[in-house]
Subunit: 324 residues, 2 copies
């Protein structure tokens, strides 16, 4: 009978919670302690701020929060590559100064067109394709092309500490969502492989998609044009549209996430707001109050008084990239 | 040692699949057999058409598929009640013939305004309220008001056989989604209680929602206006926007579901399309090719040749309502 006792004992010991550190790439600073204290408090059934599993919704911005966003959003670099391929086949598509600058890989010329210029490049490069073919193309690009300064693949430039945080929250019964200003199809191309997040848990900006039957084959087609921008005040709107309830945990890195953190942390009971502060010029990139990407002013000014955790990447993280 | 053996044996027998009928309110007709054969085929790992759990997406129309839709969509009856309450307080909101007809409960007068008339009533009755307060109001109405002809609560007019089908599919690893032309917030008000479907698995038509901070309190507000109609060709579009992948099972009851079934069943591997045919004037309502609600023509004409199952409610169901 001894083997049976051994099996029973092994089963019993497997039920004891693991004491392994769930966040090994986080230094033992206050940031890590605040995260684990929050998670402990909302998952302990005897706690006054206990939250049932169905309400454990955690939302994460993507660019600059789960992966890097320099020198410019990865989706923009992808769009430039695709635009250049298209222009080689048919130069007549370059109908504006912004598109011509894009075709010459002149990033300053593209940026000179402002937000509209970026959208123009996105529109021309992302149109007339099925969502399935688009995702396949984006996945290939993200996993094989190299980033200009790090030499890593783009998919390899996810942040290891944030992957651990996602995984830790899921282990504690949270549903983890991406809520990004980036295009929903672009993020879905890689969210499963990169973050273990299924497509239905990705909320993002949306373009016009149409349905038609051609030669007997029904298909969706991505057209030009943006129907929903999931940024700033659009983030709480997108969350309500898609998830239908207010999260209890929100993480971001720029003032584009301010409304999402504001709305999340204004709910009753225990709430958590996290802002990633890009302080590590050596291992990643250092930027905050100025520039054209990931600008963080109001969050730095008001976040601490609102009880939000400001994560100092240089101080709080022992490792940056998932890929090395 | 005998008690331990007994425990082990009990555990082993618990692992044997239950032989209880998962669809007790379905008669033993071909319809039930086709459903269970499909589910068996895609969930059997040795089957040629096996589908992994992550791809087992099932989508259901709501009005006329999961609950009744006569004499008119329940959301419309709710809107009329709210409009009448609002008009009592402030008659100046009745700015059109359609709204005046609605305030007098003159259903023909409202229908005379066509689709635009219905939207006008929805707009006025669903605006200037937070999604949370709206859902609370709709939940109260659906669970306490009585339907004009059956005397049941609206929440009690869900179809028992469809509840069993939802539950059966979930037990077999499917994720069950509602994909409805109705308003997403209205359905979310009751989807958890009525169908055991969480808010994030409800796709529907969407109205304008805005985010603002008033006196320090951040809140979302439903405004008038429709931003997305999740009907006809909008259903595959809504599914791709929200879920991000093609379902393998789709159920509906009208030609508003045709594109959803067409797109679902055109995918590779085993697929299932189901159309509910309202044939039971005695226990429910009988209607199909004519009228203003739930019109089904193309589905009846082409569905069988496309391999879709046409469920005959009178023949295939032993029970209709969940509530009696
Ligand atoms: Ca960001
Ligand atoms: Ca219907």
């Amino acid at each position: 009978m001894k083997p049976i006792f051994a099996v029973i004992l092994a089963a019993a010991s497997a039920a004891v919670p693991a004491i392994a550190d769930p966040l090994p790439s986080w230094n033992d600073t206050g940031a890590k302690a605040r995260i684990t204290e929050f998670v402990d408090s909302v998952t302990d059934p005897t706690s006054e701020v206990f939250v049932p599993v169905a309400e454990r919704i955690a939302v994460f911005d993507n660019d600059g929060t789960l992966w890097a966003e320099q020198p410019i959003y990865f989706q923009m670099l992808y769009a430039l590559d695709i635009l250049q391929q298209k222009a080689e086949e048919d130069p007549s598509i370059l109908t504006s100064d912004v598109l011509k600058a894009a075709a010459e890989n002149n990033l300053e010329g593209v940026m000179a067109g402002g937000h509209e210029g970026l959208l123009e490049v996105i529109n021309v490069s992302h149109a007339n394709i099925t969502p399935e073919a688009f995702k396949s193309s984006a996945h290939e690009w993200l996993t094989t092309e190299d980033h200009p300064t790090t030499g890593l693949t783009y998919a390899g430039m996810t942040y290891q500490p944030m992957l651990e945080l996602l995984s830790y929250l899921r282990d504690e019964g949270f549903a983890t969502y991406i809520v990004s200003g980036g295009g929903v199809d672009f993020i879905r191309a890689i969210a499963g492989d990169a973050y273990n997040i299924p497509s239905q848990q990705v909320v993002g900006s949306e373009g016009t998609t149409t349905y038609a039957v051609t030669d007997g084959v029904p298909a969706l087609t991505k057209e030009g044009g943006i129907t929903f921008i999931d940024d700033k005040e659009g983030k709480p709107v997108g969350i309500m549209r898609h998830i239908g309830k207010r999260p209890i945990f929100a993480a971001g890195n720029s003032d584009g996430d301010f409304a999402m953190l504001e709305w999340t942390t204004a709910g009753e009971g225990a709430r958590f707001g996290l802002l990633l502060h890009h302080t590590d010029a050596e291992r990643e990139f250092a930027y905050d109050r100025e520039g054209h990407i990931g600008v963080l002013n109001r969050g730095l000014d008001e976040g601490p008084d609102r009880g939000w955790l400001i994560v100092d990447m240089a101080e709080d993280w022992s490792r940056i990239w998932s890929s090395n």
